[in-house]
Amino acid sequence: MSYNINNNGYYGKFGGAYIPEMLYPNVEELRQNYINIMAEPDFQEEFQQLLKDYVGRPSPLYFAKRLSEKYTTKIYLKREDLNHTGAHKINNTIGQILMAKRLGKTRIIAETGAGQHGVATATVCALMGIKCVVYMGEVDIKRQAPNVARMKMLGATVVPATSGSKTLKDATNEAIRDWISNPTDTHYIIGSVVGPHPYPDMVARFQSVISEEIQKQLLKHENSSNPDYVIACVGGGSNAAGAFYHFLEDTNVKLIAAEAAGHGIDSGESAATSALGREGIIHGSKTLLMQTLDGQITEPYSISAGLDYPGVGPMHAHLYDSGRAEFISVTDADAMKAGLELCQLEGIIPAIESAHALAVFSKKQFKPNDVVVLCLSGRGDKDLDNYINYFNI
């Protein structure tokens, strides 16, 4: 069995491109060209150079000594939080802006939840001098205010999404509607491994630099390029896809995905897609999603804006369905506690999204000799208000 995408754009039974005809020309243009463009030497050269000099890659693989002692296992943190703009999101936006340029696009749109993808998109648009419009749910605009300000400073227009739960799903709807209305000059930079084929695969490839580096770095630390476990949080699933990518087919490496359980799986207020979802279609992809019996998409909830999404990318739906990855649900409370713990044990303030991955250590016992790599997808600066309010700091 393969865990990566097949020639038809599916991971197992998940994926595809369930899009209205209005989007077909753009999505098809991308599908026909993305692999070739990514393989062009000048694309690779520009991409690698920007990842190195602009993003600051490779990001360190840091052995977290005190955290390891606490949980009596060997924990390495892949420091995506140290990237320029503070999260893994920039790996993808650098790749996609270069793609958009080669496709001759002059206007960029994006959706954002936590604002990290919006900031990363606004950043590369400033870098390339391209017009940028970011859709963001009204609720998220309130809870991620610093990122809204950053996007504006970077020259992007931030448009509030006011439908539905006014979060990431609704921002994505609005971005798709914008693309329908601007079919020739615009490229849509999707922020995760979601959406119609080829987006999940393209974004996974851009993020795969994470596991490529983990392999090289781990070889130096541990004399083996493969860990026993890789842990990542899953919103749409892009940091997890990047951290898992080069380990997908090696089943000796166990994959763990942490998803947001909000107030608890049974509370009616969560975003635990694997636990609560069924096969269906969201944003052009056949995948697992939270929905009513009648096929209406459910409004999700999580304290973390970046995980507050009722679906998951088709790669992860397949990893779940096939049992290749273990999915662990993490509540708001578990995540906040784990976030604060990392501050105090390692001097690192993580994004609340990444804190969901960290909470896995309190839920699953690893052996002392296990090598566990955790993708620390982002830093917590954007979440300070949330931490302050939650802990009454």
Partner: protein
């Protein structure tokens, strides 16, 4: 013969109306259908509401959200329509996004449609290749016409492919926009309508998106077989209510 094909054979330009089932009130579905038939509408698209209608603008989004709040579901719609063929004889199409249909079960859905007397489906996010590979046989088994969209950006090659798979009409989206957005048709749209007409397709075309009054109806049907009104009809419902449907239809036709 399917009622849609029969209607397409008539000499006149067809007026089709879209409305969202369960809006403004849950119980309005049948009343609206009866009023539409009595006021001389040729074809109706019954919107099965969806929580995340990607191709729709604010008016249809809002009506869908309200319809869902009112309690509309696939099951309820089928119950409401159970006896529709006793009072309404014009062609009826259900227009809905794919996920609710997938959850109901595509075959079960088609079977229900046939039992009720539904003539066709428009599912904007069911791509034509998936339809052909997985569902065409089912649609045909239950005598349902499937309607595909084309847009100003659709290539001629793809239009010809869509033409070859179509068995009713082609839904010609007037401009690059979601529903309810455009403000009249300019030279660009007229040139597009003309270009498609010149392709001499086997399948008749009906234009949708941006038709709101007599002028846009006439422009849209200069070359095409008919036109579909959605958002403008819903706005009229909001403002004047069901009793005044007849007035709206008359202004379009005159």
């Amino acid at each position: 013969m399917n009622r849609i094909n029969k209607a397409l054979q008539s000499d006149k330009k067809l007026l089709s109306i879209y409305f969202t089932a369960g809006y403004p009130e849950l119980k309005n579905t049948i009343t609206i259908l009866e009023h539409l038939e009595q006021s001389g509408v040729d074809l109706v698209e019954i919107g099965l509401p969806f929580s995340d209608p990607l191709a729709d603008g604010p008016t249809i989004q809002a009506s869908s959200t309200q319809a869902l709040k009112n309690g509309m579901t696939t099951e309820v719609l089928f119950e409401q329509l159970e006896n529709i063929r006793k009072t309404v004889s014009i062609p009826l199409i259900i227009m809905g996004y794919f996920n609710p249909i997938l959850q109901y079960g595509v075959e079960a859905f088609c079977k229900q449609c046939q039992a009720i007397g539904i003539d066709g489906l428009i599912i904007p996010d069911l791509p034509i290749d998936v339809y052909q590979n997985e569902y065409q046989a089912i649609f045909e088994r239950y005598g349902l016409i499937n309607v595909f969209l084309i847009t100003p950006q659709t290539s001629e090659k793809r239009i010809r492919y869509i033409d070859s798979v179509s068995n009713g009409f082609i839904y010609m989206v007037s401009s690059a926009a979601t529903t309810g957005k455009t403000s009249g048709f300019g030279d660009m749209q007229m040139a597009y309508f003309n270009r498609i007409s010149a392709l001499q397709l086997n399948t008749p075309q009906i234009v949708g998106f941006g038709i709101k009054d007599n002028a846009t109806f006439k422009q849209a049907t200069t070359y095409a077989k008919g036109a579909i009104i959605g958002s403008a009809f819903i706005k009229h419902l909001n403002e004047f209510g069901i009793e005044k449907i007849d007035t709206f239809i008359k202004t379009i036709r005159d």
